[in-house]
């Protein structure tokens, strides 16, 4: 049983990992066909993974409603919103528009989801301003350099800034293209090395957290 529950999953990871890493270097038609089929499978499995991710909310809010815990009314709103959207979506075959005409599902998307999600992120504008005022202080030399670079880029990337200080556009462009590029490049190389190392650890069974906890 331990083989089925623990070793077989690790074996599947090892085989698929090595197979698809090697596939990159083998452009034989059979190898290419395998890649085509497997990525198609991955697309379909990806859909199930998405469902698994979003439905974890179901249980949590259902319990809240059943026990009438504090704020259960909000959970009810969540359920009504979700079930209503699903009902309308299935009724319109999951299409937001048909031949350019908006469906009821499209209406929910355009007039509910878009403004809700958009505004949720738009309020961050206020908080970044407040945070800048409260904590963007030149307490050290390094902090002062960061602050000056931020101010130059903020000036150089808007028309009024370029109008007031014409040089700010060119300086911010140089900062982004040269100084920023070099740092981001170093980070990219470092992160990629880390990602490759992690991938090898996964393939060879050193990293196993993706299998989840639970009984052996």
């Amino acid at each position: 049983m331990i083989f089925l529950r623990r070793q077989l999953p690790l074996l599947i990871t090892l085989v698929t990992g090595l197979l698809f890493a090697a596939q990159y270097y083998v452009p034989h038609p059979a190898s290419e066909q395998m890649l085509t089929s497997a990525t198609k499978w991955l697309q379909i499995v990806g859909g199930f993974a998405l469902i698994l991710g979003v439905t974890s909310l179901f249980h949590q809010h259902a319990v809240k409603i059943r026990r009438q815990e504090a704020g259960w009314g909000y959970s009810l709103v969540l359920y009504v919103g979700m079930l209503g959207t699903i009902a309308v979506g299935l009724w319109t075959n999951g299409k937001e528009s048909v031949e350019g005409t908006m469906t009821a599902f499209g209406w929910i998307y355009n007039y509910m989801m878009v403004p809700l999600q958009g505004t949720m992120f738009a309020i961050l504008a206020f908080f970044i301003a407040s945070a800048a005022y409260r904590s963007f202080r030149a307490k050290s030399r390094e902090a002062a350099v960061l602050l000056v670079a931020a101010v130059i880029v903020m000036m150089g990337r808007v028309p009024l800034g370029e109008y007031l200080i014409p040089l700010s556009g060119d300086v911010s462009s140089w900062i982004l293209n040269v100084l920023n590029s070099s740092v981001r490049r170093a980070i990219l190389i470092g992160v990629s090395l880390g990602a490759v190392a992690l991938s090898f650890k996964i393939i060879f069974g050193v990293e196993r957290s993706y299998l989840g906890g639970g009984k052996e």
Binding site: Y24, E32, L35, T36, T39, K40, L42, Q43, I44, G46, G47, A49, L50, K95, E96, S97, V98, G100, G106, Y109, N110, M113, V114, P115, Q117, G118, M120, F121, A122, A125, F126, I128, A129, S130, A132, Y133, R134, F136, R137, A138, L147, A150, V151, M154, M155, R157, V158, P159, L160, G161, E162, Y163, G169, S173, L176, N177, S181, R184, R185, L188
Partner: protein, 275 residues
């Protein structure tokens, strides 16, 4: 409590009000300052401009409503340019929450330019799996997308005649707000299937994509609302991005003023304490 202390502990809602007004007033009373074109944005524009009529242009609309104000105007401007050049336009999205928006913007620009779905352009819709979709499209486009958004078989679409995979794409632009986005399109797409590629992204992501731009892995980059405004200027059709630039200027100056004030009060307080 000294003035500096009081000012540093000011109610954050006063700052909120200031930012709100700095955004709202320029939107109501625009000035229209000139916008300089950067070489990053020109890279994308020049490439599309150089493409012969009938070339295949793939636009991946990889964002959701959270990034709509930045990337929607970029998508509109790019589509207007591509349709004006009579390119064969393939559109799609890797972000499920962006599907409705992508459909809406493609339909809107096609209608305004008199283009026909299936003949001049197609919207393939969304497909799950991110990197798997990109690789599968590189292997066999009809396998990744057996049907378009409307449910019509992709094999029967006139626009996809001769387009079997990403290898047949002339130019590709990913408008990404995160993952999957520009980086994934390079790693899992261009690296193997060798199509020419440009990128568009949110302001938050832009600095991180400069290494790809410098190494020539992408030949242009449209960054945030400013990038969209530059592209609108390049195609000569001003839209929401250009309209938002005055507000962008005002809010940037407001933040700079806040930072300067905060530092003045901070140093004055420090001086008082040290003294």
């Amino acid at each position: 409590m000294t003035l500096s202390e009081r000012m540093l502990k000011i109610d954050r809602r006063i700052i909120f009000l200031m930012i709100g007004l700095c955004t709202l007033l320029p939107l109501l009373y625009p000035v229209g300052l000139p916008i300089k074109i950067s070489s990053e944005v020109r890279g994308v524009y020049d490439h599309i401009e150089s493409m012969p009529e009938g070339s295949v242009f793939l636009l991946s609309i990889d964002f959701d409503p959270a990034s709509k104000p930045e990337l929607y105007p970029q998508a509109i401007a790019l589509l207007r340019h591509a349709f004006k050049k009579n390119l064969r336009v393939i559109t799609m999205t890797l972000w499920v929450s962006g599907t409705g928006m992508a459909d809406q913007l493609v339909t809107q620009v096609a209608k305004e330019t008199g283009k026909e779905n299936g003949t001049d352009y197609t919207f393939l819709g969304w497909s799950p799996g991110g990197q798997a979709v990109i690789i599968n499209m590189g292997q066999d486009l009809y396998s990744a997308y057996p049907s378009d958004y409307r449910g019509k078989s992709t094999k029967e679409l006139p626009i996809l005649e001769g387009v079997r995979s990403l290898k047949d794409v002339g130019y590709m632009v990913s408008l990404g707000a995160g993952r999957p986005g520009v980086e994934e399109w390079y790693v899992f797409g261009k690296d193997k299937y060798k199509f020419e590629m440009g990128g568009g992204c949110t302001g938050v992501m832009a600095p991180g994509l400069y290494p790809l731009l410098r190494s020539g892995q992408i030949n242009g980059l449209i960054g945030g609302l400013r990038g969209a405004a530059e592209y609108e200027n390049l195609i000569g059709q001003k839209g929401k991005a250009v309209a938002g630039m005055d507000a962008q200027s005002a809010t940037h100056l407001a933040i700079i003023a806040l930072v300067i004030m905060c530092n003045l009060f901070y140093f004055s307080l420090r001086q008082q304490r040290d003294g």
